[in-house]
Amino acid sequence: MSKSSVDDLVEAGSEYHAGFVTDVESETLPPGLDESVVRYISDRKGEPQWLTDWRLEAFAKWQDMREPNWAHVHYPPINFQDISYYSAPKSQTDGPRSLDEVDPELLRTYEKLGIPLHEQAALAGVVPDPAAVGTPAGANVAVDVVFDSVSIATTFKETLAEAGVIFCPISEAVHSHPELVEKYLGSVIPQRDNYYAALNSAVFSDGSFVYIPKGVRCPMELSTYFRINERNTGQFERTLIIADEGSHVSYLEGCTAPMRDENQLHAAVVELVAMGDAEIKYSTVQNWYPGDENGKGGIYNFVTKRGLCAGPRAKISWTQVETGSAITWKYPSVVLRGDDSVGEFYSVALTNNRQQADTGTKMIHMGKNTKSTIVSKGISAGGSENCYRGLVRISPTAQNARNFTQCDSLLIGDQCGAHTFPYIENKNNSATIEHEASTSKVSDDQLFACQQRGIETEQAVSMIVNGFCKEVFRELPMEFAVEAGKLLEVSLEGAVG
């Protein structure tokens, strides 16, 4: 009868449904990184001189920097010369002008993943495939799709254009809206911000660009779907979202990659700018390949995400569900510069087998009456390590700032670790800072209580874990919340034998 106890459930390998490889001919740079590679990427995209210079400046800074080593993660040194910094499906070389021109093999990839690239299909509501777990599927979502280094399709462009919303690959925005890109690129995350941000600034390939004009409520959810396909490539996407005064946008991001034995690097940068009274809601479901049960392969997810509440009453909300990647190093943050601005961070990070996650947020309070909320749920199973690392900084100017932090850890089995590193720097006496933390286990008693009512073990574990994550899931857009629940179930398959 011991078969149903928690200890015995922490075995076996989980299944990764998005782990297939797409067979397309690609144009891929040989591994290696020097100035010529940076120039090549810039040239390939026909970038203006200012951007080439900006990249080279970043590259020079990067060469002077060192990899951060303070995170609670362990991995062999990365040889940055072994990585290819540009890969694009060959058929995309001339760039598709419409969906009809996209390589059918690529379209099939996204069909398999459940991403609605056909606008009609998306409107009708596509029935999600099991492989689609963790990816946006459903009606009325405009999608930008990034395959390795390039954006291959953006849907619903016309509908959005009617509302004045710009949603396109950043490589396109460089040409169509250079003044916006030049003004805001690097304005929230400067080139030198950190090692990976500097690297990204030098070699970023593609990503999404969003601009919501003054007073506009974006008529649909915007979504970017990232996929790494090619071997030995890194993905360095760059996303820039600008919400002008009084506007509102909800943005979703999903990621998957094939199963490969070697580790692949993903070093993205996401910058958000919310002007006065604007609101940006950014949701991520991260399902990069986590490696096998022995920790072989998987994505190194070293990502810098930050939002700036530039004006009064601006609001930025990050919601993330992180279940993939061999290593996650990620701290979506908010700089609360405008008075009365609001920052939120809701996170579920699940690690299983040999996965390692060091993730959390930074809330930098500068304006008066600024308010931040942090809710972090870490779930560790197998032999994994899961850390919350968060900084709450109240500047001298942030009169009456408030922060509430809640960090909960859930352990499944006794081979995994959960760690909490909260940093609080308060330079203003009028601030109110609250921190709550808890650690609990999925207990044999809870499992047995479910089983005794006829509920099978796997369903019981997933129900208990979903219950634990409820406060975060309810922040996700509806269609994502369902996917997120299913994704947890899939990711826990290894933990529930």
């Binding site: 011991s2 106890s5 005794q452 009512r453």
Partner: protein
């Protein structure tokens, strides 16, 4: 046919010092329609019996067998035992934060329906039925939206167990000290629920310390468990005698 047949059951509990034998050749037969009360001093093996029959981890069966409705219980996983009609009302119901009571009950009733090859009940009807049951046990319907047992009082937890009993309508109900920690009003409510459940087709095994509960749920048989065996059986009169004289005269 007997509903439950336990014969020569030997079982031990895992402890730091190795397995500790608790049940030492226990025999018990329950026929449909019967209520059996099991009484006995602390440490006699009452809760172990409930745990072993329902399959809680941490116990080992060393010998003997237990058959429910023709199926050998001891070969089955805990959820399979539940699916063939075994129900344990917990002595200490656990909290499952974030999983609403309603969601939990639906998962349970759906699992049981699937196991029987039946259709899952219609959600609207199901919710109505649950709300009615909650009302009949003096439970505020708002509690159905709260996490399972999360922040419930002791009495609410026990009434919740009885609500599940009535909803799931199992073949055999094992009640493990359901009366402990209840005030007299809650005790009556719980007893009333168990009496509503009783029928000619199901059986109840009532584990209790006190005769008090048996004033409200009248048993057909009373057994005294001591040192892992049933040493005396009788009717309700035995319980009254125990109340007056204690257990010492038997052991």
């Amino acid at each position: 046919m007997n509903l439950l047949d336990v014969s020569n059951l030997h079982a031990s509990v895992a402890t730091d010092a190795g397995p500790q034998p608790i049940l030492k050749g226990l025999n018990l037969t329950v026929k449909p329609g019967e209520v059996h009360a099991i009484m006995g001093p602390n440490g006699s093996g009452k809760s172990t019996l409930a745990n072993v029959l329902s399959g809680r981890p941490g116990y080992a069966v060393d010998d003997g067998e237990a058959v429910l409705d023709g199926r050998n219980l001891l070969d089955l996983e805990p959820f399979e035992r539940a699916q063939i009609g075994m129900f344990l009302a917990f002595q200490y119901p656990v909290e499952i934060p974030g999983v609403s009571n309603m969601e939990f009950l639906k998962a349970s009733i759906d699992s049981l329906a699937r196991a029987r090859g039946e259709e899952q009940p219609n959600t609207a009807n199901f919710m109505r039925q649950v709300r009615e049951l909650a009302g009949s046990l003096d439970l505020d319907p708002a509690f159905l939206k709260r996490g399972v047992n999360e922040g419930f009082s002791g009495g609410e937890k026990k009434r919740n167990e009885i609500m599940q009993l009535l909803l799931l309508n199992p073949k055999l109900a094992l009640l493990d000290e359901t009366d402990s920690g209840l005030d007299i009003d809650a005790l009556k409510t719980v007893a009333d629920g168990v009496n509503r459940y009783r029928s000619q087709s199901n059986g109840v095994v009532l584990i209790t310390h006190y005769q008090r509960l048996l004033d409200y749920i009248v048993p057909d048989y009373v057994h005294v468990l001591s040192n892992g065996q049933i040493i005396e059986s009788g009717d309700k009169g035995l319980a009254l005698e125990l109340e007056a004289k204690g257990y010492a005269w038997l052991t």
